[in-house]
């Protein structure tokens, strides 16, 4: 489903961010991408989501190939991805319902089906009664739950989670991880980038370690 082949990214000023990264993920797999800050985890996720193009190498995600893909297909690729960001990236002038519904609306789903699906997912993340609230009135953990709901509502084949517990306390972090695992059990592959060893220490999932842009 996802295959990276010798992916290298060099930023302006000859800054090497990723150096010949190769790995692959199958359907429904759970993978931790671990490493300290500046290891290149976020850059790797950004490359998979086509926010950046690799300088060298190739990323293949389902029918999309980074080397051959035209710019106009980038939105189609992103619609197949669920994204969770460390800073939540919620739209503050939209209520929780609209934030979660965004992905489905972008995909052009029927409003009735969108409504049902959003309420179902909000129930799953424990935010049933908060659909009409706006992001600024939520706690950090709740915001991250909204972000998770937004990512999974379209049932993506792959979820990219970038430090999803960064700003959360231990209890909330565990709750978020449980939620992500639950989503994984439903068939969505998860690539979770984190530098928090507590998250991946007690897990059976496969771990990819990164350091200075390389897999070690």
């Amino acid at each position: 489903m996802l295959k990276l082949k010798e992916v290298t990214k060099v930023f302006e000023g000859n800054v090497l961010a990723l150096d010949k990264i190769s790995f692959q993920m199958g359907k429904g797999e759970f993978l931790f991408l671990v490493g300290s800050n500046q290891a290149g985890k976020t850059t790797l996720l950004r490359l998979i989501a086509s926010e950046e193009r690799p300088t060298k190498g190739e990323i293949v995600f389902e029918e999309f190939n980074s080397q051959r893909m035209k710019k106009k297909y980038v939105p189609l690729l992103r619609r197949k991805l669920g994204r969770i960001f460390q800073d939540f990236r919620l739209i503050n002038h939209m209520d929780i319902f609209d934030n979660v519904a965004l992905g489905l609306r972008i995909m052009g789903r029927q409003e009735k089906k969108t409504k049902d699906k959003v309420h179902q997912v909000l129930g799953m993340v424990g935010l049933s009664g908060k659909a009409k609230l706006f992001p600024p009135s939520l706690s950090s953990a709740e915001k991250q739950k909204v972000a998770i709901a937004r990512a999974i509502v379209k049932v993506p084949p792959l979820l990219l989670a970038d430090e999803p517990t960064l700003n959360l306390d231990e209890e909330s972090s565990e709750g978020i991880l449980k939620l992500i695992k639950k989503i994984n059990l439903l068939g969505t592959a998860v690539l979770l980038a984190t530098h928090d060893f507590r998250l991946y220490n007690n897990n059976q999932a496969k771990i990819l370690k990164m350091e200075k842009g390389k897999l070690i």
Partner: protein, 284 residues
């Protein structure tokens, strides 16, 4: 369904920044008011032109010794001009009577004989009343046998043509100037809107939103603001017309068909302004 949702988003955006949008609309409406005012002046000048040109005549003075045959041939020849709508004969006596009615009998008592020539009065078709066309017809007639002289209101006809032409050019210049100004105003205001929504736009893009999905609500906002501003511009003009212009001058308001055309024009310019600002942002 998605289109309705996006239109809803556009309306929500207008409502959310209503004070900002109100200022934007007043700015555009003021520009339109200037343009509408010039349009009103031109429209009225045109109707004056139509009225005056309906009265354009060529007077063909005849030689005193013209024979009946020559008179008949000349009449047929005049009727044969495609520019001529009607031909009216005025005898020497009729010309004298008209002059008498105009000046009074006393003033003409000293004259032994009638010095006035007989003449043909030619009414012209409306589409052939431009100065150059009338002058050309007059020149052709002057060379005909039995014709003493030809007169038409050359000087005032020329001036009328010039005034209409100048007002038309002014309209075009103002039209272009206002169109550029409106596009720039909307574009700059929309740039502020787009910048204030840069984060939301970026998030939508990360979620897989196409350029069309992101742009559509902002284009609709530009379209509605432009249309509303054009309508308010016409409304301001109408109020001004009722309060001042119609009281002082006998002028008519803009014809009804122009109002939807102006609103449509405003919508196009508003959408264009939005388009330029969004395109710039998305490209960057």
């Amino acid at each position: 369904m998605r289109v309705f949702y996006l239109i809803g988003q556009a309306l929500y955006g207008l409502k959310r920044r209503w004070s900002f949008n109100l200022i934007l609309m007043v700015c555009i409406a003021s520009s339109f008011l200037v343009f509408d005012t010039f349009l009103l002046i031109t429209q009225n000048l045109k109707s004056v032109e139509q009225k005056l040109k309906g009265e354009v005549q060529i007077e063909v003075y005849l030689n005193d010794d013209i024979t009946t045959l020559q008179l008949h041939l000349l009449l047929q020849s005049l009727k044969g001009f495609p520019e001529v709508e009607k031909v009216e004969y005025r005898s020497k006596q009729e010309a004298w009577t008209q002059l008498e009615n105009y000046l009074g009998k006393d003033l003409l008592e000293g004259l032994d004989s009638n010095p006035l020539p007989a003449s043909f009065l030619l009414g012209l078709k409306r589409e052939h009343t431009g100065f150059e066309q009338v002058a050309e017809v007059a020149s052709k007639i002057k060379s005909k046998e039995g014709v003493e002289d030809v007169e038409f209101g050359g000087t005032w006809l020329k001036k009328l043509d010039q005034v209409i032409f100048i007002s038309f050019v002014v309209d075009i210049i103002f039209g272009i100037f206002i169109a550029i100004a409106v596009v720039m105003i909307v574009s700059n205001f929309m740039r502020v809107v787009v910048l204030s929504q840069a984060e939301s736009i970026h998030i939508m893009s990360l979620m897989g939103a196409s350029k069309g999905y992101i742009s559509f609500p902002l284009l609709v906002q530009g379209l509605l603001l432009g249309g509303a501003a054009a309508w308010v511009g016409v409304l301001f003009l109408w109020v001004g017309y009722l309060l001042f212009a119609s009281q002082i001058l006998a002028i008519a308001f803009l014809p009804f068909y122009m109002i939807p055309a102006l609103i449509g024009w405003g919508m196009i310019l508003g959408a264009l302004g939005s388009f330029f600002s969004i395109r710039g942002h998305l490209e960057s």
